[in-house]
Amino acid sequence: MFFKLTPTTGQPLYLQLMQQIRHATETGALQDGDQLPGIRTLAEELVVSPNTVAKAFSELEHGGLLELRQGSGAFVCVKRRTRSLADHVQVARRQLRDLIERLRDDGLSNEEIQRAFEAELLYPVEMVRKR
């Protein structure tokens, strides 16, 4: 598996790692029963604090996506729930594609669309709900 953490995105590194592992299970890059490198190996590979990897693993274990076995590392467990999540992602992608097409028709450039997306994503969750 290839992971890429970006220190300057305003998002904790452990969250980035969690999302990338989750994403990999959604695309099928990681499948049920696959083994991930140990905390130390992955931390050395990514050159991040071991705490970053440990926190991501333990949160994913909490969510049921990883099973941590003493001494032998982390194993992916993809249940039907995540598969349906993969379907959701598929649907969301189609919706996004439509939206982006409409925005382009309205004359927005890719750069403007991207900036708008990034700005909206940075709004805290509670506020989006309020709006």
Binding site: L5, G10, R40, E44, V47, V48, S49, N51, Y123
Partner: protein
Amino acid sequence: MTNAPVILTHDLAKSFGDAAAVRGLNLSVGANRITAFLGQNGAGKSTTIKMLLGMIRPSCGEGTVLGKRITDPEENREMRRKVAYVAEDKPLYGYMTVEQTIRFASSFYPDWRDAVARRLLSEYKLPPQRKVKKLSKGMRTKLALLLAFARRPELLILDEPSEGLDPVGIEHLLQMLVTQAAEGVAIFFSSHQIAEVERIADQVCILDNGRLLLDASLDHLRQSYRRIDLVFESAPPEREFRIMGVEKIQSKGHQMSVFASGNAEAVIEHARDLNAVSVEVAPVGLRDIFLETVKEN
């Protein structure tokens, strides 16, 4: 992080004559983490580190390292057996060869790991027979790092460890720090390499003019600091934005830029209430956090 702090100071201060180098420092460095110690040249980082190691005596205040009082010579000796230290000026004996230096150092420490020393000697491509005084700056740094990494301490303190290293050397250093941390070594290091600090540190302490200005986890900094750029129809209502979390406001024409250490939601909500025509939010990197924090002081 239930473990006791590896470094703890209370109102620690040091003056050289009339000049105060460190002013009432209250520092708490956690076990099981990588803590970065940032500050401009002359901020008091090296003085602090030397006080922690018992190399210079505090003018007032107190502190413990691994639970041992820094001003007690007996406890200090005990502590030094469990702490590896890479000094800023990398003091080594110039007349010794690389190999002699390694053998000399190994005899001091019961936690010395010969296999690691040999592996690093070849990875660093250090010439074993060369006299230390003939080494380049980068090689001296590598030798000093080797002497620290070959040990298995409880705490590793490094003062500007990347000095003189090229990008490959810096990458190797960071990997070694990660490896040590994975083995349970607490790490406390000062550095000017903010981009590198941002990658591996769990916690960041910013020292300026002898005072601790910031002590926070990088997770917290990433989640809380935001730059919010606003555009208004008329002159920006700067005063309306002097709220909690807002560290700095700059206005130019119809534009206003808010630097917030937290509470960004409130700023955004406020901006919408005041009919801002554009609201853009961007994360703030450690470099900007450092520069703004030091500038504000």
